[in-house]
């Protein structure tokens, strides 16, 4: 197992034009990224497409070499070590199975190119098949093109673990599967990761998946890691407005408000801030963030929310009301049996409210992790 450190890595792709002019260069895919992954930990990397998350994964794998910065495994610099010498296993979004080889061959390729004996390869493949569970055995004898997406996925994961890697790298491994299978596979992968306790970097664009998979989550944007932390940290103490709105579903509502004399002014509404919050928020324009569960419904001084649309989620015993307040999109969590109304009044629950600067994304006041016990 391994401890991974990424130290101020910069990566810029060479443009495809004939003359590599400075002007034609885009911003770097990775802009001085640093992170550390502890031994046996799973870190999900999440972000919109093009944010550099796959590039980060490739740099850690050794498939791309950074323009600057270092990658360390267990404290050893491996920045320019080739991927096969790093002992990593990688699963790709399109599975990347070798189409001309059967499942067996896909798993055995590693041993063939590493000059291992037939017997060892055979034995390792068999062990892996056992670990992968029921029905895996017969995938070994089939050509990838005849396998379904889920089956290809299982072979790809098996190919990854057959070598007993010290680091797992997963690049959106389940986003090509259909919804039901995705759910299932997600649990399977999680179990697998728990079982082997292998250090894992898990790249995805789906924040729910990231939350489910990762012990910690790294949120990326435009080649930067915005925040790296556990779900609670990201949820309750976001590093900036981007992280706050990115994490959580439905997303946090952001209202532009003015604070004056301990009062929050939205349009012609005035909300008095409670005493414990008031000193933390300076006067002037700020942005007020309220998560769906942070609204109090039908309090006396509430803002009017026209319900545009109502979504019931029986499994969570909740229903969400969607509408807008002061021009900002707002989602409100209510009880599942909340009556169908066209209008409700909502007030922020101040102990759960987020305040951000009006012109930057910096947080001013955050609720902090709720102490439930």
């Amino acid at each position: 197992m391994a401890r991974i450190e990424v130290d101020q890595v910069v990566k810029r792709y060479a443009s495809d034009t004939i003359v590599d002019r400075e002007a034609s260069r885009t911003r770097p895919a990775l802009n001085s990224v640093s992170m550390a992954v502890a031994d046996g930990e799973t870190v999900s990397v999440v972000g919109a497409s093009g944010c550099g998350k796959s590039t980060l994964l490739k740099v850690v794998a050794g498939l791309e070499y950074p323009d600057a910065g270092r990658v360390l495994y267990n404290g050893t610099d491996v920045t320019y070590v080739r991927p096969q010498e790093r002992g990593v296993g990688m699963v790709f979004q399109d599975y990347a199975l070798y189409p001309s080889m059967k499942g067996q061959g896909n798993l055995a390729y590693y041993f063939q190119v590493h000059d291992r004996t037939e017997e060892e390869a055979e034995q390792r493949v068999r062990e892996t098949a056992d670990r992968m569970g029921v029905g895996f055995e017969h995938l070994l004898g089939r050509v990838p093109t005849t396998l379904s997406g889920g089956e290809q996925q299982r072979v790809a994961i098996a190919r990854c673990i057959v070598r007993d890697p010290q680091l797992f790298l997963m690049d959106e491994p389940i986003s090509n599967l259909d919804a039901k299978l995705r759910e299932q596979t997600r649990i399977e992968i999680r179990k697998l990761l728990r079982k082997f306790a292998i250090t894992t970097l898990y790249v995805t664009h789906d924040q729910q998946e990231a939350v489910f998979m990762g012990d910690r989550i790294a949120v990326m944007r435009d080649g930067d890691i915005q925040q790296l932390g556990s779900f609670d940290e990201l949820y309750y103490t976001p590093a900036n407005l981007f992280v706050a709105t990115f994490i959580g579903s439905p997303p946090m509502a952001v209202l532009p408000v003015v604070v004056a004399g301990g009062e929050v002014v939205v349009g012609d509404l005035r909300w008095r801030l409670p005493d414990d919050v008031r000193p933390a928020v300076p006067d002037g324009p700020v942005r007020l963030g309220v998560r769906p569960e942070g609204w109090i419904v039908d309090a006396g001084d509430g803002a009017v929310l026209r319900v545009r649309h109502r979504e019931r989620i029986p499994t969570e015993r909740a229903s969400f009301l969607y509408g807008s307040v002061g021009g900002a999109a707002v989602a409100v969590a209510t009880a599942i049996d909340f009556p169908d109304r066209s209008e409700v009044r909502v007030t922020p629950e101040w102990s759960r409210a987020y305040f951000f600067a009006a012109d930057t994304e910096d947080p001013i006041h955050l609720p902090g992790v709720l102490e439930l016990f």
Binding site: Y13, A14, S15, D16, T17, I18, V19, D20, K58, A61, G62, L63, R82, P83, Q84, E85, V88, G89, M90, F92, Q93, D94, A96, L97, Y98, P99, S100, M101, Y109, Y110, Q112, V113, H114, R159, R163, D171
Partner: protein
């Protein structure tokens, strides 16, 4: 797809559909007719091929043409053998040899370069080397005809004679490959069009497969051989087919760089035979009578269009077979995306 998938029963659509079918079938018929006519002619007698109107089916099928060609092929001591500078199998073998080397050297060299350009090189380097490799595709071959010819004479100097080393009487060392098969083979080992074909195909292989193999630890060559090659059978079939028909049908270049009759490929030899059979451009009476005399000689040897057609069929046969063998892959192997 152009015709709607539903509502094909409408009369207008039906008529249009059958018109398209009729057009395509007519085209096929017209296209196949030369093949038919060639075959039929080869079984006609010497008089019948010159008869007017031409016959659609041999009145009296005869193997005269084929027998004549068999004697040509064997080079046996018949009157017909005077027509050629040697037994026909020799020229045929020359063609085979030239084509063989063009394929054996050309296909791996071209495909490896295209693979490297597609998957190993990046950025400006990839762009430059792409232009380096396909740039000559845009240049007329006629321009390089003379320098290439001189190059075969005094490799590596594309000059009429090898320059002397300044200050001495010696000449720079040079190799003369002129009048050898290598002079025909080497210039077409690297074929820019095949490079384009390979590059177009390799570009469609997902990078992730190659990256997965790199993580597995294959060397680049191992990845190429074990992973990429088996995926790329169709494009190899297409490239082999184009390289094959190109090398097999070569005509101008062997005529320029080969001199010894016994080294000529079959295509050139058939041309020379045809020249002897019917001289084009007779402008005066002398020439015409000389031509008539020569014609008489040839006809007395039993050679006529029937024999030539047999040679043509023999010459076409390998191209034909190659096409049939590669047919499964032709559509799957072509993934061209223009010159970019």
């Amino acid at each position: 797809m152009l015709f709607p998938q539903v509502g094909r029963r409408q009369p207008a659509l039906r008529i249009a559909w059958w018109l398209v079918v009729a057009f395509l079938c007519l085209g096929i018929t017209l296209h196949l007719f030369p093949f038919y006519f060639m075959l039929v002619t080869s079984f006609k007698s010497g008089e019948e091929v010159l008869a007017f109107p031409p016959t659609w089916w041999p009145h009296e099928g005869t193997l005269a043409g084929w027998r004549l060609v068999v004697s040509l092929v064997q080079g046996s001591n018949s009157a017909a053998a005077r027509l050629m500078d040697g037994p026909f199998w020799m020229f045929f073998l020359n063609s085979v040899q030239i084509t063989f080397w063009v394929l054996v050297l050309g296909i791996p060299i071209t495909s490896l370069a295209a693979y490297a350009n597609s998957k190993l090189q990046r950025g400006p380097l990839a762009r430059w080397s792409f232009l380096f490799f396909i740039g000559t595709l845009m240049m007329p071959a006629a321009l390089t005809l003379i320098p290439n010819y001189l190059l075969t004479r005094n490799f590596p100097f594309a000059l009429p004679s090898v320059p002397g080393i300044p200050g001495t009487d010696l000449e720079f060392p040079s190799v003369r490959i002129w009048d050898t098969h290598w002079a025909v083979i080497l210039p077409i080992v690297f074929q820019a069009f095949n490079f384009l074909l390979f590059k177009g195909f390799f570009d469609t292989i997902p990078d992730s497969v190659i990256q997965a193999a790199r993580v597995d630890g294959g060397s680049e060559f191992n990845i190429f051989r074990r992973i990429v090659l088996p995926m790329s059978v169709p494009v190899y079939a297409v490239a082999i087919w184009t390289a094959f028909s190109g090398a097999w049908d070569q005509f101008l270049w062997p005529l320029v760089v080969l001199q010894s009759p016994e080294k000529m490929p079959a295509s050139v030899e058939i041309y020379l035979l045809l020249q002897r059979f019917t001289q084009a451009g007779a402008t005066n009476a002398d020439q015409a009578s000389a031509q008539a005399q020569q014609m008489q000689d040839i006809l007395s040897a039993g050679m006529s269009w029937n024999g030539l057609m047999v040679l043509g069929i023999l010459q076409s046969l390998p191209v034909f077979i190659a096409f049939i063998v590669c047919r499964e892959y032709l559509l799957r192997g072509i993934r061209l995306r223009g010159l970019k």
